[in-house]
């Protein structure tokens, strides 16, 4: 019997969105991408028992009941045009696709229920397989997953690790095992390296001045997990009330965006002044592989919440946390992702 090693794990997931939370992606709607982290999307079965019920004559459980299912995991990846487009589209929820091959452009913005948008995020299915087929070790699909949030980290240095994305996702709890999916060939990704960064924050071009050291930006949907269980939300096995409840919706709650960066602090640096004055301006960061593959994230209005002097490798630096604020015209954040893959989140 041969040992199963985690390097064998294949993942694929919906590049297109599901028709609804309960309808799984088909194989042709999915893509295979590689990842860096070992975490698996383990389903979690929540159970109850009858220990506290009277009439048994004792305090011990005699029965256990399947109550509900949880699912979810994280994808840690080197940042590429493809995963960036997918993460922006599925996490923000509102997408306009334009362009033609090989230059598809996905313009993404958050959903705003006050203006008629849904509070439910787009759903995708997530498949994990190890030796699918006769000698299967693992073959399962989490159906009805939504992105909880992402963090993009840009650092100094030439390696791929200086431009990464971490995507956290949550599931409805519905699982299909075996998945019935033939994992497609891996998509060749176009990496967006740290060295391609362009960055302007609050009127300062930090790349031109050669002062940027690192930055991190994130989005979090704070999905209402408990709100997914409503009367009639359904069961793991359709019509089987003993199989455990699954969620019938995944809605975002109070969403949060963050942007923080570390820059060299030199004569003329304005971060401390802008903190005191609470000056506001746009923050625009972009990363580029080529003309057809890139990511641009715009926070249209930020102020500095904190700015602290410190050091990085012996050089005086300032560490700034921005406060993204609502802009009456351009909202809180937008992303323009270009890549050669069609139908992302369509």
């Amino acid at each position: 019997m041969s040992t199963s090693r985690l390097q064998e794990v294949l993942i694929c997931f919906g590049k297109q969105k599901q028709a609804d939370i309960a309808t799984a992606n088909t194989g042709v709607q999915m893509w295979q991408l590689r990842k860096l982290n070992a975490a698996l999307a383990n389903p979690k079965l929540n159970t109850e028992n009858d220990a506290e019920e009277f009439g048994k004559g004792h305090e011990f459980p005699t029965q256990s009941f399947q109550t509900s299912w949880d699912a979810g995991s994280a994808l840690e990846k080197y940042l590429s045009a493809e995963i960036a487009a997918w993460a922006m589209a599925f996490s923000l929820g509102k997408v306009v696709k334009s362009g033609t091959a090989p230059n598809f452009t996905y313009t993404c913005a958050p959903l705003f229920p006050a203006n008629g948008d849904a509070a439910e995020l787009p759903y995708f299915s997530f498949v994990e397989q190890i030796r699918p087929g006769a000698a299967v070790v693992l073959d399962r699909m989490a159906v009805g997953c939504a992105i909880e949030g992402w963090t993009i980290s840009i650092g100094s240095g030439p390696g791929r690790a200086n431009s990464k994305i971490n995507v956290e996702f949550l599931g409805s709890g519905k699982m299909t095992e075996p998945s019935g999916i033939v994992v497609p060939a891996a998509t060749l990704e176009k990496l967006l390296p740290s060295a391609s960064l362009a960055l302007t924050i609050n009127g300062v071009n930090y790349v031109t001045s050669k002062n940027i050291v690192s930055l991190e930006t994130s989005w979090k949907n704070n999905v209402r997990m408990d709100g997914g269980f409503f009367p009639g939300s359904g069961f793991q096995a359709t019509g089987d009330a003993t199989s455990g409840a699954i969620r019938g919706r995944l809605e975002f709650a109070n969403r949060q965006g963050t942007l923080k960066f570390v820059a060299r602090f030199v004569n003329g640096s304005t971060e401390l002044t802008k903190l005191k004055n609470q000056s506001t301006g746009a923050a625009v960061l972009s990363l580029t592989y080529d003309a057809n593959n890139s990511l641009e994230i715009t926070w249209p209005k930020v102020s500095f919440a904190t700015a602290e002097l410190g050091e990085t490798d012996g050089i005086v630096t300032v560490s700034v946390e921005c406060l993204p604020m609502w802009d009456a015209v351009n909202g809180i954040v937008s992303a323009v992702a270009k890549c050669g893959v069609d139908s992302i989140c369509q």
Binding site: S98, N115, E296, T298
Partner: protein
């Protein structure tokens, strides 16, 4: 094919006619924030060719 890169957007709350707009972030983002969302182009009305 048109040289203009345009998309069709449906009005917020489904109220109003779809609009064809330039597919640039400067145009799209304010509309998305205001509740517009992408939709298929409206079908052109086909008139029967009456040649009498």
């Amino acid at each position: 094919m048109s040289e203009r890169n345009t998309v069709w957007l449906a009005a917020p709350f489904g109220q109003g006619e779809p609009r064809e707009v330039e597919a640039t972030p400067e145009t799209l983002v304010p509309l998305l924030v205001a509740g517009w969302s992408q939709c298929a182009p409206p079908e052109m009305e086909v008139k029967e060719d009456v040649d009498e």
